[in-house]
């Protein structure tokens, strides 16, 4: 049996070679490199499928959480963590459609909307221990602007920032803008200690209720947060003092983890699972409409859709109700371009399918069952089930009208590239604002541009452009007038120009452990859970 031994030796040697290259050299996993002494309520050692720590809240995101720790440039998934570590001057309330106090306790703007003065909260300390004052806030915002990364553009209107005194921050704008909305953005609006920014995720520089406990890129439990004891809001015993993010790509897996009590929050379920959540013990559902809606952009510049009759026919051909039904609550019929909860949302603009009208319009344009066949290129996001549903339904409807839909699922890079070259007749994409202001849809998507970026309907209408330019000032100074203007613009773009169809607004169907209290969805901060607001029922 000598060869067995040799085989063993060779095998061990092989393993050693492999592991030598991967040798990490004795770091301790957990707690950001420092072993943590036992905390209260740890689960019994070794018990398979152990429960989450009693006072740990486990969030199940569907992909990696943090790619960028810099609060200035962060522009991605990490919003779910950063929103609990950092705070802005304001936070948006989607019920009142208004900004509410956060680091700023109150604010005023001049009549022309070009001068904004914020009064800062007293006694707030950064995680570093340094006090948060006007000077620090000014530095943070200036650094963010300077970095030019992520959503820094939201500060474009700002001309000058002045720390009048420790608690007064004054902004002078180049043009009128709703700065209270800008400051409540989930991206690029955080106030942080500029000297303590750490891109490696070891320390944090915010004022928020949580700080990093450990961050292990690529691990299943990627990130854990712990309470910042000196948080200005104070702590109560029933609050969650620890938070863990457990990356769970598959919805089914997440659902089973929630059922077994291993996670407390699943950010998105499908309608079937959501329906089950209502009847499953230990689980509660929560659904909330988002600020993200689907845009079906028609090519107004070229191809068959250049004919407005074709565009209107397409608008009429979409089975909005069927789609909404098939989405089973994961999307709701949209009314206009602006989702509910934002200034500018208009009631009563829900589209309806009208096949007769579609047929007439097509016939007028020279197409139809007894006329010429129409072929249309459509591009949409690969892997998005909801978009696929739209495409499936639309293509079978259009077939009856002798219209062939050549639908190409593409990844964003390719789809966008093609779009910038006007390579399709219909461009399907989601749109959402970076800060809670409907302006984004109009400025980015429908204002004329020589080189289209997101103006993928290629709309060119000087009247519309002029109206769009007036929006920020109106929002900052006269909300009623702004609402009027928004309504007019949407009528122009959707009804007169027929540049776009808006089938639905996404709705998040989430589920939480039943013992979590105080959860409220805020569409201005997609998928963010403000853990500080939660308590655990005993």
């Amino acid at each position: 049996m000598r060869w067995h031994k040799r085989l063993l030796v060779a095998g061990v040697a092989g393993v050693l070679v492999l592991t030598a290259t991967a040798c990490a050299g004795g770091q301790v996993r957990g707690a950001g490199g420092t072993p943590q002494p036992e905390t209260s309520g740890g689960s019994p050692a070794g018990q398979p499928g152990g429960q989450a720590n009693d006072n740990t809240f486990v969030y199940a995101p569907n992909s990696d959480v943090v790619t960028d720790w810099d609060p200035a440039t962060s522009y991605s998934n990490e919003i779910v963590a950063l929103s609990n570590i950092y705070e802005g001057l304001t936070r948006y309330d989607s019920l009142t459609k208004k900004a509410t106090p956060r680091l700023a306790t109150e604010w005023t703007s001049s009549a022309d909307g070009k001068e904004w003065t914020f009064t800062l909260r007293q006694g707030v300390k950064f995680h570093t221990g340094d006090p948060m004052d006007a000077e620090a806030a000014k530095k943070a915002i200036e650094r963010t602007i300077e970095k030019k990364g992520g959503a820094a553009y939201i500060w474009d209107p700002v001309d000058e920032i002045e720390a009048v005194d420790a608690s007064t921050l004054k902004f002078t704008l180049k043009y009128a803008a709703p700065l209270d909305l800008v400051t409540s953005s989930g991206y690029a609006a955080w106030i942080y200690d500029v000297d303590a920014v750490d891109a490696d995720g070891k320390t944090t520089a915010g004022t928020g209720p949580y700080t990093i406990d450990s961050w292990r890129k690529g691990e299943e439990t990627e990130l854990t947060l712990k309470a910042y004891e000196d948080y200005w809001g104070g702590w109560k015993p029933e609050q969650y003092k620890k938070v863990a993010f457990r990356v769970t790509p598959e919805i089914t897996t997440a659902w089973q983890l929630l059922q077994s009590g291993e996670v407390n929050f699943v950010r998105r379920l499908n309608p079937q699972l959501f329906a089950q959540a209502g009847t499953t013990r230990g689980v509660q559902g929560s659904q909330a409409q988002s600020f993200q809606n689907l845009l079906v952009l028609f090519n107004t510049a070229d191809g068959p859709a250049k004919d407005i009759k074709v565009r209107q026919a397409l608008q009429a051909a979409i089975d909005y109700d069927g789609l909404a039904a098939a989405l089973e609550g994961s999307g709701v019929k949209a009314s206009g371009l602006v989702p509910q909860g934002l200034l500018g949302h208009v009631e009563g603009m829900e589209p309806k399918q009208d096949l007769d009208r579609a047929r007439q319009l097509l016939a007028a344009a020279g197409y139809g069952p007894d006329l010429k066949e129409l072929e249309l290129d459509l591009t949409y996001a690969v892997g998005d089930d909801d978009q696929k549903l739209l495409v499936t339904l639309l293509s079978s409807t259009l077939k009856q009208l002798n219209v062939t839909l050549l639908a190409k699922p593409m990844n964003w890079g390719a789809q966008w590239d093609l779009g910038k070259k006007q390579g399709q007749d219909i461009f399907v994409m989601y749109w959402y604002p970076d800060y809670p202001d409907a302006y984004s849809w109009f400025l980015n998507v429908f204002k004329s541009a020589d080189k289209p970026q997101f103006n993928l309907s290629y709309l060119k209408n000087t009247g519309i452009d002029a109206a769009i330019d007036k929006l920020p000032e109106l929002t900052a100074t006269d909300r009623t007038a702004a609402e009027q203007e928004y309504r007019k613009l949407q009528e122009k773009i959707i009804q007169e120009e027929a540049a776009v169809a808006v089938p639905y607004v996404q709705r998040y169907q989430r589920a939480l452990s039943v013992d979590v209290q105080g959860y409220q969805d805020n569409p201005a901060y997609p998928s963010v859970v403000f853990f500080y607001d939660l308590t655990r029922a005993s």
């Binding site: 060779a10 943590q36 992909s63 598959e250």
Partner: protein, 338 residues
């Protein structure tokens, strides 16, 4: 033997060079701009230009290839567009987890496949043989992604026998933190004597490893069986019979070793195959390995990361082949003199 080794090493290097070129070609063929993927969905033209410059996308292609090759050699595998970390660091984190999963799976596959193959060969054309053949056929025919879902739903979610997902119970990090040496959880837990994490990790390994093991176990069982039957039909088996050895003894003591040779050459292949199968399994089990990394990279069109994974797996495959080649000499002395 030494010359053989040198020759094989040379060949392996050549293959690696080819792999690099091919990977580069695939990377550059990706439609759409990697810069777009890096700069994000709402990038401004300036941000795009900056990203282009950063990745050297404005150089002519041959220069890019040379730069790419040079960077690889110096250990710079590029920066992931998605995680914004050096790809090498990402792989360094993800690979040990995959190794753990695939290693466990291969152990299961060998531990099950070889004895089953022997059993089938011993009772050729009888019931055990039929059972093993059918079973191994099913194992190689089942779509892993489907098997993963089914096993998880039934045995973890439904019956609760096994953990649903994850590498180990991460709440143990606080109660009994693990010192990392190899980054492979079970191994580290074992060598540092961290029993809570060790048992938890083993427990978590069962389902995913079984899923990944299905294909290799089936293939190994089939191969062992076929090779053993072939070997048992050789003249030498007749001599051993004539010497009074029993059938089982002939199979295990004389036939198995030469029969293992084709099985062994299979293992390198199966190893690489199992890593790739992880792509379809890891997401289901929240396994923080290469597969999940690759799947997310693909979803976000993260070309440097995809290239990195491709390259790593190809390297592992080439290396595994080398190791197997050398091992074969030990298993079957005939190959040594070649």
């Amino acid at each position: 033997m030494l010359r053989h080794l040198a020759r094989r090493l040379g060949q392996a290097l050549l293959v690696v060079a080819g792999v690099v070129v091919l990977t580069f070609a695939v990377m550059r063929l990706v439609p759409g701009d990697p810069a777009v993927a890096f700069a994000g969905p709402k990038a401004t033209p300036e941000q795009l230009a900056e990203a282009r410059a950063r990745f050297g996308l404005d150089d002519p292609l041959p220069v890019q290839l040379l730069n790419y090759a040079r960077d690889l050699v110096t250990g710079d595998w590029g920066t992931s567009l998605r995680t914004r970390q050096p790809v090498r660091d990402d792989l360094y984190l993800a690979f040990p987890a995959s190794l753990e999963l695939v290693g466990a799976a291969l152990l299961i596959a060998i531990a099950a496949g070889v004895p089953l193959g022997v059993l089938a060969a011993r009772h050729k054309t009888r019931l055990p043989d039929l059972g093993v053949r059918l079973g191994s056929m099913l194992a190689v025919s089942v779509p892993v992604f489907w098997l993963a879902l089914a096993l998880q739903t039934v045995f973890a979610g439904g019956l609760g026998w096994f953990p649903i997902a994850g590498e180990y119970d991460s709440s143990l990090d606080t109660t009994s933190p693990l010192t990392l040496w190899t980054n492979i959880t079970v191994v580290d837990a074992l060598i540092t004597g961290n029993w809570p994490i060790f048992t938890s990790a083993l427990w978590h390994l069962v389902l995913p490893a079984l899923v990944v093991a299905a294909y290799p176990a089936g293939v190994i069982a089939q191969m062992t069986r076929a090779a053993l039957i072939e070997e048992a039909g050789q003249d030498h088996a007749r001599l051993e019979r004539a010497l009074g050895f029993g059938e089982t003894s002939i199979l295990t003591r004389f036939a198995l070793r030469p029969a293992l040779n084709p099985v062994l050459s299979l293992i390198a292949l199966v190893f690489a195959y199992a890593i790739v199968n992880g792509f379809l399994v890891e997401a289901v089990f929240n396994w923080p390995g290469l597969g999940r990394y690759a799947a997310e990279s693909i979803r976000s069109l993260d070309t440097p990361a995809i290239a990195g994974v491709t390259l790593l797996v190809a390297l592992v495959y080439v290396l595994a082949n080398l190791v197997v080649d050398l091992l074969q000499g030990f298993v079957d002395p005939r190959t040594r003199s070649r």
